[in-house]
């Protein structure tokens, strides 16, 4: 098929979850998808107003793309869950980029709000397609194909993050490695996807974790039911979908199945700040848990040392716990 044009997807925010879906959708319609480059070690961030690090990254990546593409795809993510909403900054994301790029690039910014209707993602993509001159029928077909690809991609997720270099996890042409080597520890890494998988932000901490003998488990594989089981009893509803997922998966993993839990937070993220306090109080109520928990805060420091020192020490802690508490061993290797 002839290339109709180029769609730019900034390597930021929910790119780190939905990229496979978005990419296949546009490619099916004959558009070429261009992704922004990594920041590189120098990490030149574009500062725009006083925003949180993930937003600064969105702007930086958008700036990188704006001259290379016909449209930028930055959907207005209001809600990705039936009854919960996203951080308000996601709602304004396309507008912030529009301001920062001074209107020099077309932005595809249809609203995704799963509270309004179940098929909002499909609706938003169909509308986007319409703007690109695609019929509803072709749009639906492309969406079905994209969705199938996405579900399949998610199935290989754990093998990808444990087997591929972390920078290549979203290189869709790299196949999921069939089998990963055995690791002595199973460690759950929790946080916003753009903190967990953006190697510029987290200084590729997951690769380092792997080198310490950790098998990485992420909340991506958890079901709605498992998350609900943990958050339903809370006295106060957490109304951000990401926050709910983080707290729910954190307590899910703290109740068993892993040797340790690491929560990667973003410095200056309002949601994370509140969640930490929430988690602290909750843990106090529970009288502590036997599975070690580490909270690692990510900021704009260029050094990696602070993160690696803490993670090394955390590895020592879970190792000691395993020696003292061999029942973890039995649970992980049921024979």
């Amino acid at each position: 098929m002839e290339e109709k044009g180029r769609i730019g997807i900034p390597r930021a925010l929910m790119f780190y979850r939905y990229f496979p879906l978005w990419k296949v959708f546009f490619e099916e319609l004959g558009w070429r998808v261009i992704v922004s480059d990594g920041l590189g070690k120098r990490g030149k961030l574009v500062y725009f107003e006083d925003s949180c690090l993930p937003m600064k990254l969105l702007i930086t990546h958008s700036m990188d793309l704006k001259e290379k593409v016909d449209h930028l795809f930055i959907p207005r993510l209001v809600s990705l869950h039936r009854s919960y909403i996203m951080c308000p900054k996601f709602r304004g994301a396309p507008d912030i980029v529009r301001l920062a790029t001074e209107g020099t690039v077309s932005i595809l910014d249809e609203t995704i709000d799963l509270r309004m209707r179940e098929h909002s993602t499909l609706r938003a993509l169909l509308k986007t397609g319409k703007r690109l001159g695609v019929t509803e029928k072709d749009g639906k077909r492309a969406f079905q194909k994209a969705e199938r690809f996405f579900l399949n991609f998610q199935k290989g997720w754990e093998d990808r993050i444990n087997g591929l270099p972390l920078k290549q996890v979203f290189h869709l042409e790299s196949p999921a490695p069939a089998k990963n080597e055995e690791k002595p520890f199973r460690v759950a890494f929790i946080g916003h996807p753009y903190n967990l998988f953006d190697t510029d932000v987290n200084k590729d901490i997951l690769s380092f974790a792997r080198s310490l003998g950790m098998r990485i488990i992420t909340p991506d594989g958890l079901s709605e039911k498992e998350i609900n089981a943990q958050v339903s009893e809370f006295s106060k509803e957490i109304y951000w979908s990401s926050g709910r997922e983080i707290v729910g998966s954190l307590f899910h993993f703290l109740s068993g199945g892993v040797d340790g839990v690491v929560f990667l937070t973003s410095f200056k993220c309002g949601i994370d700040a509140l969640l930490q306090e929430f988690i602290r109080r909750r843990l106090k109520l529970k009288g502590g848990v036997s599975i070690p928990l580490l909270v690692l805060s990510l900021d704009e420091h260029s050094g990696r040392e602070g993160l690696t020192t803490r993670l090394e020490a955390f590895r020592d802690v879970i190792e000691q716990q395993k020696i003292r508490n061999p029942k973890h061993e039995i649970r992980n290797n049921p024979k």
Partner: protein, 321 residues
């Protein structure tokens, strides 16, 4: 008798100890880095060797602290360990009953939670170094007094003033303001200690269960003002180990003693007489833009790091394959 060397190179000071099989400290060094960790380590080796005598031979070396990798490349270490584990190992052997460790050093402050002789939780200061040794140093220098004198004065405070402890910039502004409206130096430094302790307990120790016995160590444990403020706030006495400033190095030495290397990597005390230097450059061959560092001993590259692709290490024959 087997001897083990533990080296702890922190942001402000370098600590080195040599222990024997029975964990006795045979020789110790505590030096300021002055921003030159390599020279400091060399100087430390020289002092140790003069204290131990020429014939002393080392059976194992471990490094810890924020420059642990650099130190390891330089001296040839058998073990590299993070400072949290090193500090806790030193405490667990000495005070098996300890439930909490406070460690405040030059730029780091940490809290380690122990239960039944095992580390179960820990935290380190993030983002800002308010309340650590380097800020106290700076303030002592501003007042023209030694850090020992600083601690003594703080303990004499009758009515410690309120000082903002969240941020060193604000703290300094506050202290100068108090001084200009006539408060005594004792009350000001006493107030500073109180607010730094408050900051430490509310930020670093936030959410941690601080049970006694508590061991307080790191360079700042020498500061009586901080100790007193901690004890007042927590309403409990703190245990200060005899070698409070050397605990990281002692822990490292103990860890390598457990490993008992068959043949140590240690390059020997004569390293102190060789010329050692580093040089760094930025590789521009790919988007990683690695900052590569080479370590030279007697003008020969003996170690190299920072190159993700290991290209420079391979080309200088440091690794094969």
């Amino acid at each position: 008798m087997a001897l083990y060397l533990g080296i702890d190179v922190g942001s402000i000071t370098a600590k080195m100890v040599v222990i024997d099989e029975g964990d006795g400290v045979l020789a110790e060094v505590y030096l300021r880095n002055n921003g030159r960790p390599l020279e400091t380590i060399q100087q430390g080796l020289e002092i140790l060797s003069s204290r131990l005598g020429e014939k002393a031979s080392i059976d194992g070396v471990a490094t810890t602290g924020s420059a642990r990798h650099l130190a390891a490349y330089l001296v040839g270490a058998d073990l590299i360990k993070n400072e949290i584990t090193a500090h806790s190992i030193a405490v667990i052997d000495l005070f098996p009953e300890a439930k909490t460790i406070f460690e405040i050093g030059g730029q780091d402050s940490k809290v380690i939670v122990l239960r039944a002789g095992v580390v179960v939780d820990f935290a380190m200061n993030t983002v800002c170094a308010a309340g650590t040794g380097s800020f106290l140093d700076q303030q002592a220098a501003r007042l023209g007094i030694s850090i020992e004198e600083f601690g003594r004065l703080a303990m004499q405070a009758k009515h410690p003033v309120r000082v903002a402890g969240r941020c060193t910039v604000f703290a300094e502004t506050d202290m100068i303001h108090k001084q200009q409206i006539g408060h005594s130096v004792e009350d000001i430094v006493g107030g500073l200690c109180d607010s730094l302790v408050n900051n430490y307990l509310n930020n670093v120790c936030r959410g941690k269960e601080l049970l006694s016995p508590i061991v307080f160590q790191g360079g700042v444990a020498a500061n009586g003002g901080i100790r007193k403020a901690l004890e007042k706030e927590l309403e409990t006495d703190l245990i200060i180990p005899k070698h409070f400033g050397l605990m990281g190095a002692i822990g490292a030495a103990k860890l390598v003693k457990r490993v008992k290397p068959v043949r140590t990597q240690f390059k020997g005390f004569e390293l102190s007489r060789k010329s050692c230097s580093t040089r760094g450059f930025e590789c521009s061959e790919c988007e990683n833009q690695c900052e590569v560092v080479e370590l030279l001993v007697d003008r020969e590259v003996v170690a190299c790091w920072g190159d993700l692709c290991e290209k420079y290490r391979k080309s200088s024959g440091l690794i094969t394959g």
